[in-house]
Assembly symmetry: C2
Homo-oligomer: 335 residues x 2
């Protein structure tokens, strides 16, 4: 194992738990600005690449023809918490494609938002596919299929033309080969491809800056970034890392988590791409490490913002509200 | 870091995430039967030691005088999921002490059982302290305080006479020194003391076999083990590790998880104590590693039981029910 230290969980003045993994910062040419751990080992990016998979929905004008607005484009990049607005925006996307929730192939789960789950339970309802945290991405695939004249049925399969186009965008931006050898199935049924963390961060450097992309693709990336920055709630939800960091920094930081401890980010004005994989899959460590990774590239005022300090160094409290510990970055420390 | 491999999370045929930590098996004299990783480093046992902290509730006859039954004694050892029976048994304990929910100092949180949380929400109610996963343990402290003639107020403080007695039991069984230097605050407000994993497993070897304990304490331990084995649902809840393993093996395996990736177990008929700490705090890895740790000590029939195979090697499915991977033990492998 060649893991780097990422984060420590403190209880009182002792380390209770520790997380390792890999972290990388690159410029749009893929040059390493910072690296810790093995950044060439293939990792499943999971939901971290939703914005890249959404590029074909804008390229060639599909989103324009379907009349998709910024909220809908933000939701196409989202892992959301199933709150009322997430659900209604996903439903609106399907409506514009002439389809309904029944067309979604992501499966159903209870909203991760306690408030949203309680509201459903109080109404005596069970969750549907619109509540799935990936419903916006899936609605986006259905929109793209309809616009291209394809039957959306089976859009989750790796060989459906819509999924082929999404996969091609990921392959082109990351430079990674995506085929049977590195493919597995994601939690929502679509393929996920193991690619090196360095390639993943390069994809987000390009997604942020547009460098090396066609004019159409650079414009699609800029539109998705603007959509996310204009309504970060739609990309995740209340108190979620991506929503909090984009609410703080607007279009200066694009951020997206994926399951099993993946986080990617872009700082478009600097042309930098970022990626973190927590080896054990813990979001808490990947998020703190990502905050530490972007910190040197923020302004002093941004770095000292109390909202950012909370992301960099979250307090742990018990059920009566007493502070009992904290999570802190150990990025750059010896493992 | 001197961590041993504990478990791997597979997606398709690739390792997506990996967990390390420490694992140990001892006999009642503290002799190492198996060890992997640093088993002398202090770890916070958290809720794993609830059964040890409950010993003073039985010693000297307190539980008998209060009329506590087996269900109530099992709940005193529990980290429960807040289902209706957990709540009613905790309320009954308080009633027998002449107290109410208002006396609990653990704080409130939503039940971790989705069914129980939904039922509360559907009734338009918010959770109270009885729903806290530690409410049985706290009700036990209140019972012990009342029986000893102490004011239970402040029972969570390390210097309250009831907490002193509970701490003394933990110190005596583990042989570890418990003082200001290794004390922090647990999620429910009581003290938790960092002690070596080897000492923790020794405590459970003794708890299981009674070896080296006074007759009164050995009898108290046997009563708590019998109470847990007779109703394992009360110690945790539906689909939880402790409940599942004790449902499978009855009084042949006592098992108890703690927060941040701790699991302890005892096999009383063999005189063995077991402890696992997952370094990153993940229960999924600690549980799989504990299943692997006890497996060699089970009978062939127990080891091949499909219910046990599911604990040793859980399948991962996505939201449409497709199998996408698995968790498997890597205990004993090179890190």
């Amino acid at each position: 194992m060649t893991d780097a230290a990422l984060a420590e969980v403190m209880r009182g003045d002792r380390i209770e738990s520790r997380h390792g993994g890999a972290a990388v910062v690159v410029d749009p040419d893929g040059r390493l600005v910072f690296s810790a751990g093995d950044v060439q080992a293939p990792e499943f990016p999971r939901s971290a690449v939703k914005a890249l998979l959404a590029l074909p929905l804008l390229e060639g004008g599909a989103a324009g023809r379907l009349g998709l607005d910024d909220a809908e484009l933000a939701l196409a990049c989202a892992s959301h918490t199933g709150e009322a607005r997430h659900v209604s925006v996903a439903a609106s996307m399907l409506h514009k494609a002439g389809r309904t929730e029944a067309c979604l192939e992501c499966g159903a789960h209870w909203p991760t938002s306690r408030t949203a789950a309680n509201a459903l339970a109080a109404a005596g309802r069970a969750p549907g596919s619109l509540h799935n945290n990936c419903s916006g991405k899936h609605a986006g695939f259905i929109c793209a299929a309809i616009d291209a004249g394809h039957d959306p049925t089976g859009y989750v399969r790796h060989d459906h033309p819509t999924m082929r186009a999404a996969t091609a965008a990921l392959g082109e931006l990351s430079g990674a080969t995506l085929d049977d050898r590195n493919r597995a199935i994601d939690g929502c049924g679509i393929p996920t491809y193991a690619i090196p963390l360095a390639a993943l961060s390069t994809a987000f450097a390009r997604f942020g800056s547009g460098a090396g992309l066609s004019r159409d693709r650079a414009s699609a990336a800029a539109r998705l970034r603007a959509a996310a920055a204009s309504d970060p709630f739609l990309v995740a939800g209340r108190n979620r890392f991506d929503t909090r960091i984009m609410t703080l920094f607007g279009n200066r930081v694009f951020s997206k988590i994926g399951a099993e401890g993946i986080v990617v980010a872009a700082m478009p004005h600097l042309g930098l791409g970022f990626a973190v994989k927590c080896r054990d899959g813990a979001p808490r460590a990947a998020e703190v490490a990502m905050a530490a990774l972007i910190a040197p590239h923020l302004t002093a005022a941004e770095r000292e913002d109390p909202g950012f300090r909370e992301l960099l160094n979250p307090a742990l409290t018990n059920w009566t509200g007493t502070r009992v510990g904290e999570i802190r970055s150990s990025l750059g420390q010896r493992v």
